[in-house]
């Protein structure tokens, strides 16, 4: 077990109103597991990731995690003043790793995403997909035990995104990192996850825990992925959108 979340709640106070963003969320994540969180926009998925990362504090409940945590953001967050190599090496030099170690490690990770010939390029010279690949290895080079991904592919075009699904599954297998992947795209969640946690909104809580027993490496257009994602979508619609209509 790498991560244990125990009845986490989060409230935001705005003047005289309190908004309940997350309510009584509990789940475990096993070592090396790939968990996808699906839910409608504004259900508090990103807030949950911020809580796990320690960027925000929860109102109540406990989070126990072991090892380092990496974070891939939805927006491109490569540092525009550093080239690809220096972006990837950033965390190593922050931690005072010796120069020889950095010189050895960076090419390995550049190769992992096939961006070796772009090592001297600056972020604005890369495409959206390449940027997110660099962000991915920049987080992985720290060897985190948990990687949090917040809709990382939402601003990438479809073809590139489908290639990224394959790349991500390959890298996950290679590095054995635990991944928590947040998305509002059900197909994406089913294609990538060992498990899909379905969230409902306002207040956000987990309504269903669905195992995905399909073999890897999965393709987004695989018929079994499509069939399963229909099922997951039904639960999602029943639990959040109909609830919204009733209100």
């Amino acid at each position: 077990m790498t991560l244990r979340i125990n009845s986490i709640s989060k409230q935001f106070s705005h003047r005289f109103k309190t908004v309940e963003a997350l309510k009584e969320i509990s789940f475990f994540v096993k070592d090396g597991e790939f968990v996808c969180l699906v839910g409608p926009s504004g259900c508090g998925k990103s807030t949950l990731l911020s809580l796990i990362a320690g960027l925000e504090k929860s109102t109540s409940g406990t989070i126990t995690s072991f090892g380092k945590i990496g974070y891939i953001f939805q927006e491109p967050t490569l540092f525009p003043w550093l080239n690809v190599w220096d972006n990837i090496a950033f965390s190593l030099s922050m931690n005072g790793k010796p120069r020889e170690y950095i010189q050895k490690q960076v090419p390995v990770y550049l190769d992992l995403v096939q961006l070796t010939e772009f090592s001297h390029a600056f972020p604005h010279q890369l495409s959206g997909g390449m940027k997110q690949k660099v962000a991915l290895v920049r987080a992985l080079i720290r060897r985190p035990s948990i990687l949090l991904m917040d809709e990382p592919f939402s601003s990438v075009d479809t073809i590139t995104r489908e290639n990224l699904y394959l790349d991500l599954q390959k890298i996950w297998k290679l590095t054995k990192t635990t991944i928590i992947f947040v998305t509002h795209n059900v197909r994406e969640a089913v294609c990538l996850g060992d498990r899909v946690l379905v969230m409902s909104s306002r207040p956000g809580h987990i309504v269903k825990n669905i195992r995905i027993p399909l073999a890897r490496t999965r393709n987004i257009d695989d018929l079994r992925v499509i069939t399963l994602s229909h099922k997951v979508k039904k639960t999602l619609v029943q639990n959040s959108y109909e609830k919204l209509d009733a209100k």
Binding site: L55, F73, F79, R138
Partner: protein
Amino acid sequence: MQNKFIVFLCFLIILLVTWEMVSVARIWPPWVFPTPYGVYESFVTQLHQGILIPAILTSMGRLLIGFLISLSLGTILGILLSYYAILRRTVGIALLGLQTMPSICWLPLAILWFGLNDKAIIFVIIMGTFMSIAMNTVSAIELIPSSIIKAGVMLDARGAKLYRHIIFPAMLPSYLMGIKQGWSFAWRSLITGEMLFVTTGLGQMLMFGRELNDIAQVFATMGIILLLGVIVDNVIFGRIMHEIQVRWGLFVPNKANCQSLVRDASRLYNNAVAVCTDATDRTI
């Protein structure tokens, strides 16, 4: 690049020729409106008499000292202001108020405190500059996207490292704009300060020209002040900013681009209208 330069050179030549023609036509008497050659002569005389170079050096020396003090003071103050909310709500508001005051208002105070010397002018420059640099530093830090700072924290840049490796480089483009603005404030404060009390320097040279009723000298000095301003603004700051904008891939707003965009859009619109009318005509 070369083409642009030639166009601008032609413009300057036309300007000079027009000026010469107006002065030869004697619309105004020569003690009100000098000829280009008279201005050039005055420039050369001052150069030979050894007035011009010392004046430039004194002025630039004051400017540099005043500007460097303002830069360090303003930057440190700006960083403190952005770090402590309580400072922003107290000192920050006071600075915003004081910033609206024309810097020359500080001159009487400066003369009483420091006497008629360089210190008084440098004080005026600092008062006219450091507050705007401080406020610009605060807004340069506020403009950094929060996701960049979060990414830095998640990659182990914490505490002082966060400032050195994330916040300082990330604020650079807008911070430099602030410095450039600060520089022009300092430049204005310097010349006004020098004009208002008796000392050496470019501002005083301008006033001497007036006292001697020597219009050519006034024109020549104004030309030099203009030239120095343009050189610092475009060559020094322009080059640094361009370097950073190219590296970061920031869009450089360009008037010509805007115009061509508008032109393209209107052409597209006209084409669309033509096609529509054509289609309607045919259906009718």
